[in-house]
């Protein structure tokens, strides 16, 4: 059986899946000061009738790293940046302990300037003197050739508790994001590791063995002992859990829109051919743009409990929530109250809802029903216009080849999934406005925990070959190999696939779950003078976010 746990901001949910059927659900309030406590409680509740030996797999989505970052409960980090030419240091400094050092490689990964050991050793002493135990090392173009980072790391090896290297975070270009990602990884390392130690200790008491996985922002998982190397990957796993939940509760194979409508906010996600879309570069957390792969979501300030006001001839719905709906004793009229008045739902106390909406109707000088209708429509329109914006943004993303420019695929969803409290009353109108067929999945209240339970292990890998230099770099693994001049794109593709498989298995993937996709495949002839000097080959592949195998979508009941 599979145990899935989602530690959310308000509730911690757990589900026990038996052959993909929900056998048991549990819900406890999240203790924000002690997440482990919430985990233990919910686990005890769900395993009250069974022993832990029934578990084949446990998956955890936790806000541990997210909270640490959002609440600034992070370690002090010394950042050593080999920045080369480009942006000025003032635009790259991420904290008070950022130091710039010499040494860099260029866009082809060719070393232009070497590192200065004395300079680095002085910085290391200074950082130690300040009691700093965590260091991040990031080099310009280290995802082309990581040796500057590894050389700096080697030269201060043993002097710190933990060192995070930029190229291990992502194979993508973007120096400022690499700095932010590495910084956050080092900053949450301690908090995350002690949390995981506690979990391991707790699980150790069960005297039975089952793999534990942690959910990442991209809707994939990795094995718990792998997660401690790169804890920053676990941030923002909450929205990912919700999207994977929708995927597991439906049989989505096509372009679709997914909405999670809560009390305060609505989260929007988009599926392309049944696959949730990823952020093009990485997720953003507390103002830090990162290189962390994450599902593409947009959160807007509108929900069932959004405050409704009418001032100076203008109706405003959201973005604040000042309390529950008036029907539940809240202080102000809300879209939920409007839906009650319209008879779309019969929750709460109808008189209170009518009274709240009547105030708006009076200032608008229209009948009660008209006011309710206007509020309801306005809430739906805020959501649908954001959905349309998001789809436009995806369809208008820049492309860099003539082929893609003329024949580029467009997302055209005809399907809308809605979960969350107001899903039932709002879905039909939203579907009409978006021209979509609507579906409200069953068991949606524990969709997050189900999504976490069934998410497969994901990872990606970048392989770069430069036949003029005679080198092949497997970026995220920090490996460099020598290659012959005749090396071809096909060779690089094969190496990339093989190494991605190895990496995925190491991260905890099962052979059957390796749904691999090539995400970048480019080979350029490098012409110098009038002859071809070599090939510049760039391959990227990923295990797509999705559900574990032997599981048909929509099977969860």
């Amino acid at each position: 059986m599979i145990l899935g746990i989602d530690v959310g901001g308000t509730h911690t949910d757990a589900v026990l899946l038996d052959h993909y059927e929900v056998r048991k659900k549990a819900k406890v309030l999240t203790n924000r000061e002690n997440l482990l406590d919430s985990l233990l409680k919910v686990t005890e509740e769900i395993l009250s009738d069974e022993g832990p030996e029934i578990l084949d797999r446990v998956v955890l989505s936790t806000t541990m790293s997210t909270n640490a970052i959002v609440q600034d409960k992070i370690s002090k980090v010394g950042m050593i940046l080999a920045s080369g030419p480009g942006l000025p240091p003032s635009m790259l400094t991420i904290n008070d302990d950022t130091h710039f050092v010499s040494g860099y490689v260029n866009h082809r990964g060719v070393e232009v300037a070497g590192i200065d050991h004395d300079e680095i050793s002085k910085i290391a002493e200074k950082l130690r003197g300040e009691g700093i135990e965590h260091v991040g090392i990031v080099g310009k173009f280290s995802s082309r050739d990581p040796h500057i980072e590894t050389d700096i790391g080697d030269s201060i090896d043993g002097k710190f508790k933990h060192i995070s290297l930029g190229h291990r975070m992502s194979g993508n270009l973007n120096f400022p994001r690499r700095i932010a990602t590495t910084y956050l990884n080092a900053a949450v390392w301690d908090t995350y590791n002690s949390f995981i130690d506690n979990i391991k200790e707790f699980v150790g008491r069960f005297k039975t063995d089952f793999p534990i996985y942690i959910l990442k922002a991209d809707g994939g998982t990795f094995e718990i002992s792998q997660s401690v190397k790169c804890p920053v990957q676990t941030i923002l796993s909450g929205p990912a859990a919700s999207i994977m939940g929708i995927l597991s509760l439906t049989n989505c194979q096509e372009d679709a829109i997914a909405l999670d409508i809560g009390g305060t906010t609505t989260d929007i996600a988009i599926f392309a051919g049944g696959i949730p879309l990823l952020e093009p570069l990485g997720v953003t957390i507390k103002g830090h743009k990162t290189l962390i792969r994450g599902l593409r979501t947009r959160s807007i300030g509108i929900g069932g409990d959004s405050r409704v006001t009418y001032e100076n001839g203008e109706l405003t719905v959201g973005p604040e929530r000042v309390g529950p709906a008036a029907a539940f004793g809240g202080p102000s009229p809300t879209p939920t109250d409007a839906m009650i008045v319209l008879g779309l739902t019969d929750i709460g106390e109808k008189e209170k809802a009518e009274k709240a909406i009547a105030e708006i109707a009076e200032s608008m000088n229209v009948p009660l029903h008209d006011a309710a209708e206007t509020i309801f429509h306005s809430a739906c329109e805020t959501i649908t216009s954001s959905v349309k914006d998001m789809i436009d943004e995806i369809n208008n993303a820049p492309v860099y080849t003539v082929h893609e420019m003329l024949d580029g695929k467009k997302i055209e969803p005809n399907l809308l999934y809605v979960v969350g409290g107001p899903a039932k009353p709002m879905a039909p109108r939203l579907g009409d406005m978006l021209g979509c067929t609507t579906h409200i999945p069953e068991n949606a209240e524990v969709a997050n925990a189900i999504g976490a339970s069934l998410a497969r292990t994901t990872t990606e890998l970048t392989v770069l070959a430069d036949t003029e230099k005679g080198t092949l770099t497997i970026v995220e693994e920090g490996i460099q190999l020598t290659i012959p001049r005749e090396f071809e794109r096909e060779d690089a593709l094969k190496i990339c696939m093989d190494k991605l498989r190895e990496r995925a298995i190491k991260m905890g993937a099962k052979e059957d779950d390796l749904e691999i996709e090539i995400t970048e495949d480019q080979s350029f002839n490098m012409v110098r003078g009038y002859y071809t000097a070599g090939k510049n080959i760039r391959i990227k592949a990923q295990v797509k976010p999705g559900l574990i195998s032997n599981f048909q979508k929509g099977e969860t009941r």
Binding site: P176, A397, M405, V527
Partner: protein, 434 residues
């Protein structure tokens, strides 16, 4: 520096080349893309990337006479690079951004008004198409184009030769030492637009100092007097010291300084073939300068200002040339009378070679001398492809006489002598072929 909202239209056309080992090939903007991505420029709050639109044949026919038609001389890639320039203009004119840079290929500044094929890696003139698009869409504007490509922009010069509302300034390596072999100070505009074409040839090995001297002492003062509504930079990058097909000593830092001082509303990439050692750094420098950011840390790995410093002889030569050209500009109004005397029409005959496609063209151009507009223009052109054409062009903001004369010329042309006869009327946005 003032931080500005800068639009970037990036289209490297990774699947398009003139031929596999041609300088204008797939790889050209690869390392520029790497550098721009690695610097994270697109993440900056004041830098916005836009997808290029596609230019239409109407956009091309507003400015060019393509023989036999636009479809026959272009590929999709040209429609995207011209479309990219148009997108840049749109974003600026709708005030979505303060300025914009179309980092697109293929380039266009060697493409002349009449197009029988490709010259100097160019088929259609993307800036010229953009300029006429702006006027068509946003009303008539005074526009200055400052072409900083190392090669004389003979195509842009040809297109704007008779247009007194477009100031075309080209600063380039001396035509006696480099393709296309033109662009001397005495090429100064047609009779109705004397002084609105300015050529500043610089000797080989000119470095930052020389370029910036000409900028500060000639280009900027002339722009001050011309008072354009829009300044466009044809941002060729082949003046760089590492460029393989030219002989100048300009640096990435020099390009950034030039851009900051010129402060163009729109920049459009032209040439530049040092794809690995120069373009990544120049383009990052230009984007940062346009966005008003500190670009002083942008420099080439092998940058050594002493090694590329120009000689004092070059400095003196440039100082002298700059003062002569400025004199010429000052006296532009008095020269017209001297030049045209009582003539009603002026005629010029030229041979034009299309190096990229190996085509020869013989062209005779006749302009009506006019004090009220750019003047009605007719062109008789015969190419080695076998095509002979006649074109009548009524300029934008034309006077009624020039329009009547133009319409009459088109009606009365002996069609039997030509394969195609064209009529282009900018104000009415008309393009007729018979």
């Amino acid at each position: 520096m003032n931080v500005k909202k800068t639009g970037l239209i990036f289209f490297p056309a990774f699947d398009w080349a003139i031929s596999p080992s041609h300088p204008e090939r797939e790889e050209r903007l690869l390392y520029t893309q790497d550098q721009v991505f690695e610097e994270g420029l697109l993440d900056l709050d004041n830098v916005f990337e836009f997808k290029p639109g596609l230019a239409s044949t109407e956009d091309i026919n507003r400015i060019h006479i393509c023989v036999p038609g636009a479809e026959s001389v272009i590929t999709e890639s040209h429609l995207i690079s011209a479309g990219g320039a148009i997108t840049a203009a749109e974003k600026v004119l709708t005030k979505e951004v303060d300025n914009a840079f179309a980092l697109v290929r293929p380039p266009g500044h060697h493409a002349m008004r009449v197009v029988h094929g490709a010259r100097g890696f160019c088929n259609i003139n993307i800036e010229a198409i953009m300029v006429e698009y702006i006027r068509h869409r946003y009303g008539h504007k005074r526009i200055a184009i400052v072409d900083t490509d190392c090669h004389h922009g003979d195509g842009s010069q040809d297109i704007f030769w008779h247009d007194p509302d477009t100031l075309y300034i080209s600063i380039h390596q001396d035509g006696r030492t480099l393709y296309p072999g033109s662009g001397f100070p005495n090429e100064f505009g047609g009779p109705n637009a004397l002084g609105y074409t300015i050529n500043i040839p610089l000797p080989p090995n000119t470095s930052d100092k020389g370029f910036l001297f000409a900028l500060d002492n000639l280009i900027l003062p002339i722009l001050d007097e011309f008072k354009p509504d829009l300044v466009i930079n044809s941002a060729g990058q082949d003046n760089h010291y590492s460029d393989p097909i030219t002989n100048m000593n300009f640096s990435a830092n020099g390009y950034a300084i030039l851009n900051e001082r010129l402060s163009p509303d729109i920049a459009v990439l032209e040439g530049g073939y040092s794809i690995e050692s120069a373009l990544p750094y120049i383009n990052v420098g230009i984007i940062m300068a346009m966005a008003g950011l500190d670009y002083s840390f942008v420099k080439e790995p092998d940058y050594n200002p002493r090694e590329i410093e120009q000689s004092s002889q070059i400095s003196r030569y440039i100082e002298e040339e700059v003062s002569q050209i400025y004199e010429l500009w000052k006296n532009r109004h008095s020269q017209k009378a001297e030049m045209v005397k009582n003539a009603k029409y002026a005629r010029r005959s030229r041979s034009i070679y299309y190096d990229t496609d190996g085509i020869n063209e013989e062209q005779e151009e006749t302009i009506r001398i006019c004090d009220d507009c750019g003047g009605m223009l007719t062109i008789d052109s015969k190419a080695s492809t076998g095509n002979r054409i006649f074109a009548v062009i009524v300029p934008g903001q034309s006077c009624s006489t020039c329009r009547e004369k133009g319409e009459k010329a088109f009606e009365s042309v002996e069609t039997g002598r030509y394969d195609y006869v064209y009529f282009q009327d900018r104000d009415r946005d008309l393009f007729i072929v018979k």
